[in-house]
């Protein structure tokens, strides 16, 4: 190939490899309205399905009369649990080892539960038909408050489990109990508390919220009776797992099921699980013989398909009087709703909540989690976090602030005193994890300097004095958060989904002309994989990123992978990509040696090809090698240049960061103004800094929403109140603060390119930063803990309780 002579820098730059702010490939279609989302897909003879949902949170179903609906022109079918029973599909397994009613089987357990699936020619007629279906209920007593769930006389919420006092995760203590999960050394921890100089204890509630991606959950199922093949387009963060589940449930052989996740309009954990809408669409297409589309509306999305958190964490820390932590004891009451549809790896009913020791060197700790049923929507998904990691980070980061307040210590100084030190990595935590790498002191010191932390504290002190003198009605809060995440599930030794180990995969194929198609088991929902995965390959193989096409989401063509959630794509699929590329590179080296008539060991890699050591003019570019691999491969070597890698990570990765929030609160209105928010992230090697910063902005905005008002609320009858964007707080551009971002780089020692993952860090670290800022503002008035969410009304109420309105 004739090419102009260019410099090494130009050769490097044109690759657009790792570390460069490559503009996104996806944007070309998205900015022109040419994305291809599920609801954009049409098939010939396609019809629509939608649900009749329960008005009540807990009721027996006495009768369902669909006769009027069935008589409506345009209505094709109405499915109820009775229709699914012969197929054994009226219940489905959940990822958490429980079962969930696909269509209510004799009773409903939460408001808006699916009762019947109406199939009609268009979405307007399904809506008409839903109005014509009469459901007769007999109301039952309702349990909304998880603290009442295990009362001796609490109503039985799940009669289907009657007599089954052993669940998927061990013994059940009560008819509404799901599991108890404990870890840590209880007696050593109890002893630490008995002998401690200082202890603190607080019940920290992390309220119920919802991932609410802008595109709701949806699918389009089409069964070809002649071929016996099922095609399902859907909003799937884990399309391969969905295909396996669909095969196990439908008994259609897995190779005859084509699951395709096209462009996805945000996921944030909402689109991991299998939902009734998917099952009903599949049954409906098999029954009717025509393609069936199901599209949730926003109310259905917020009130049925998964929720997040509802974790109530009684947190205790023991310490010496000079502020060295000596023990951590946490008990969690976990509300999973009517069915345990938590999307965690199978053996982890409380996710990775045992990362709750955070960034601190706790000599001992104990954690116990009790999961309970209530008459609320099922779930417990990881909303922009690894499994229960945002709960754990909130627990420890609020806990450290509460301890600092009791000790009269500065919360940043308390953290600096207790951080795991750089030389302690790899670090064995008291609750069983091996942290891969970290440099917490460097990150914290950089962050404190960047925001002039000491000066802010001095300003806060002056403001507090002015407030006491009656000169201002504004108080100032400084929220500190130093989080450690655990992401990249995960090693097959401890992580699986329904028995499938949580590896991930990549397949890279170089064409004769040196361009590439690569496919992965991950699935982008906005993360920009088509851009960043190509950057990894570009650096590894010396082929420009623009010559590399990335494909994900088609289970027929992509290698099997466990999907994208829990920040696992970069730690697992990203590693698979690098490993697959290295297999190709090894073969390329053999071909280059053959072409240059030297030993492979005489060659060295140089940006975009191999050159002879000590004789750099003699070289072969990857493009030349690619052509040769199809044209004149060395004798005895297979032609072609492609590789597959299934990567089973040896460990999780542990990203961390230091976040600071500076807030001014008007005590008379409860309005909190974010003056500054600074986020330092260490996600190891940075693949595309532009995309990292973008993810940090987005995650911080979600953290801001959750901490400052976003909530799925229920009244005492189990009515979900506020399941629309009128009430459910999604910040607009006006409320959203300005974000300042920064970073340090501590590569993961076990990851092929040292990357750790970042998409969820800002949510994990952001929530405690906001909450700590609110609590920090009120601390000098005698407050120890104010529960989230901190909307203006609740902040005003907190101020009122402290007597500042008198």
């Amino acid at each position: 190939m004739n090419e102009m002579v260019i410099t090494r820098e130009q050769r490097e730059a044109r690759l657009e490899g790792m570390g460069c702010k490559r503009k996104r490939v996806e944007d070309v279609r998205f900015t022109q309205g040419r994305g291809n989302y599920v609801d954009d897909i049409k098939m010939p003879n396609m019809v629509h399905g939608d649900f009749v949902r329960s008005q009540y949170a807990h009721a027996k179903i006495v009768k369902i009369d669909a006769s009027k609906a069935k008589a409506l022109p345009g209505v094709i079918a109405v499915l109820t649990a009775e229709d699914l029973k012969p197929l054994g599909l009226h219940w489905m397994p959940t990822l958490a080892g429980d079962v969930q009613a696909v269509l209510a089987d004799g009773k409903v357990c939460f408001q808006n539960q699916e009762i019947a699936f109406v199939v009609a020619e268009n979405r307007y007629i399904t809506d008409d038909a839903i109005q014509l279906i009469e459901v007769e209920y007999e109301e039952l007593p309702v349990v909304v408050d998880p603290f009442q769930s295990m009362a001796p006389d609490a109503p039985v919420l799940r009669p289907d489990l009657d007599g089954k006092m052993t669940g998927a995760h061990g013994p059940r203590k009560h008819h509404n109990h799901i599991f108890e999960w404990t870890i840590g050394d209880q007696s050593a921890t109890d002893l630490a508390f008995e002998t401690a100089d200082v202890t603190v204890k607080e019940m920290l509630s992390y309220h119920r919220t919802h991932p609410s991606p802008l595109e709701t959950c949806q699918c389009l199922a089409s069964f070809d009776k002649i071929k016996g093949e099922l095609t399902v387009y859907g909003t799937f963060q884990a399309p391969h797992v969905i295909r396996t589940v669909a095969s196990l449930l439908s008994k259609i052989p897995e190779h005859k099921i084509h699951v395709i996740a096209p462009d996805i309009g945000g996921g944030f954990g909402n689109k991991v699980g299998a939902y009734a809408g998917y099952i009903c669409s599949i049954v409906a297409t098999i029954v009717t013989g025509v393609p069936v589309k199901w599209v949730e509306d926003r109310m259905e999305n917020l009130s049925t398909t998964s929720f997040a958190r509802d974790y109530h964490m009684t947190t205790e820390i023991a310490a010496t009087k000079d502020g060295k932590v000596t023990g951590l004891r946490v008990h969690v009451l976990a509300d999973h709703g009517a069915f345990d549809a938590c999307a965690d790896p199978s053996k982890w009913p409380a996710g990775f909540m045992n990362i709750v020791t955070g960034s601190y060197d706790f000599p001992t700790a104990h954690l116990a989690v009790d999961g309970v049923y209530t008459n609320k929507a099922p779930g417990g998904v990881a909303y922009r976090c690894s499994f229960r990691v945002t709960e754990a980070a909130y627990c420890i980061e609020r806990g450290m602030d509460i301890l600092a307040q009791k000790l009269g210590m500065d919360p940043a100084d308390l953290r600096l005193k207790n951080f795991i030190r750089r030389e302690q990595f790899p670090y064995q935590s008291a609750l069983g994890w091996e942290y891969d790498s970290g440099d917490y002191h460097t990150a914290m010191n950089k962050a404190m300097e960047a925001i002039s932390y000491r000066a802010l504290r001095a300003e806060q002190k002056a403001k507090q004095e002015a407030f006491r003198r009656g000169e201002t009605r504004e108080i100032m809060g400084i929220g500190v958060s130093f989080f450690t995440e655990i992401v990249g599930a995960g090693p097959s030794k401890n992580c699986d989904i329904l028995g499938v180990a949580m590896f991930d995969s990549a397949e890279i194929r170089i064409h004769p002309t040196g361009s590439i198609i690569a496919r992965m088991g991950s699935k982008s929902q906005g993360q920009g994989h088509e851009t960043t995965w190509a950057q990894i390959i570009a650096t590894e193989l010396g082929i420009p990123a623009d010559d590399i096409m990335i494909e994900e989401g088609n289970t027929d063509t992509a290698p099997y992978g466990l999907g994208t959630y829990g920040s696992r794509s970069t730690p697992v699929a990203g590693a698979a990509i690098a490993m697959a590329a290295r297999k190709i590179k090894n073969k390329a080296q053999m071909i280059a040696a053959h072409l240059l008539e030297v030993s492979e060991y005489d060659l060295e890699w140089d940006i975009d090809g191999f050159r002879v050591k000590g004789n750099p003019e003699r070289s072969k570019t990857m493009k030349e090698i690619a052509w040769a691999s199809y044209n004149s491969p060395p004798p005895g070597l297979e032609p072609g240049l492609e590789a597959v890698n299934y990567y089973d990570p040896p460990n999780m990765t542990y990203p961390f960061g230091a976040y600071f929030c500076v807030m001014d609160i008007d005590v008379d209105t409860g309005v909190a103004k974010i003056r500054r928010f600074y986020a330092l992230d260490d996600c190891g090697t940075r693949i595309n800094p532009m995309i990292i910063e973008g993810q940090v902005h987005g995650g911080l905005t979600e953290a801001f929403a959750i901490a400052m008002g976003q909530e799925i609320k229920y009244d005492e009858l189990g009515n979900v109140v506020g399941a629309s964007f009128m009430d459910f707080f999604i910040p607009t551009a006006v409320e959203t603060p300005h974000w300042e971002t920064d970073h340090t780089v501590t590569p993961s020692p076990h990851h092929p390119i040292g990357a750790k993952g970042v998409g969820e860090s800002p949510n994990v670290g952001g929530v405690p930063a906001f909450s700590n800022a609110v609590n920090d503002a009120f601390g000098f008035l005698g407050s120890t803990h104010i529960q989230m969410p901190h909307d203006a009304w609740r902040v005003w109420e907190a101020a009122k309780k402290l007597g500042v309105h008198a």
Partner: protein
């Protein structure tokens, strides 16, 4: 459903005159997406909160999930599919969104672009605060808006013959 009553609608969509018969209750967003196969405009809430369905009608921004197709009779409707320049090059906003990393999942983007187009026609050189208020009817779950603001500033600069200096963060 042959006996359902329909009404004639004539609209100019992206410069092309369209005539169809529709039910009176057909929402404009469904008309655009399902009748005309213009699937760029999206549905995020059906209650006018999210703005993913925002289109331009007779020079103003309209959330097409809360307007009936029959109400658009006689109107000039522009959607994201018609945003690029007539010579096929990208509109300054489309370019700005890519350059400034103003999108991630892309679902809010068409509505955001069409809202920004009208915003810039009403206020060709808005301040950051004016942009933030100007797009407050459009929700984004991915970006935190910071780079969307920059993308609109980039486009405003370009349309005013200036070069935008800042980089995407």
């Amino acid at each position: 459903m042959s006996d359902v009553q329909t009404y004639p609608v004539t609209v100019t969509v992206n410069g092309k005159k369209i005539q169809r018969f529709v039910e009176s209750r057909t929402l404009l967003i469904h008309f655009l997406r399902e009748e005309l196969n213009l699937t760029g405009s999206h549905i995020g809430c059906e209650t006018s909160h999210c703005g993913a369905c925002t289109v331009e009608i007779d020079g103003t921004s309209v959330k097409s999930c809360t307007m009936f197709a029959v109400q658009a009779n006689g109107a000039v409707v522009n959607t994201v599919e018609g945003l690029a320049n007539s010579d096929g090059t990208l509109h300054a906003l489309q370019e700005g969104f890519r350059q400034m990393h103003g999108l991630q999942c892309g679902f809010c983007t068409p509505g955001m672009l069409m809202r920004a187009k009208v915003l810039l026609s009403e206020n060709p050189d808005p301040t950051e605060e004016e942009i933030r208020h100007g797009i407050a009817g459009n929700l984004c779950r991915c970006t935190g808006y910071q780079n969307i603001v920059k993308a609109i500033q980039y486009a405003a600069a370009k349309l005013n013959g200036r070069t935008y200096q800042e980089a995407a963060e």
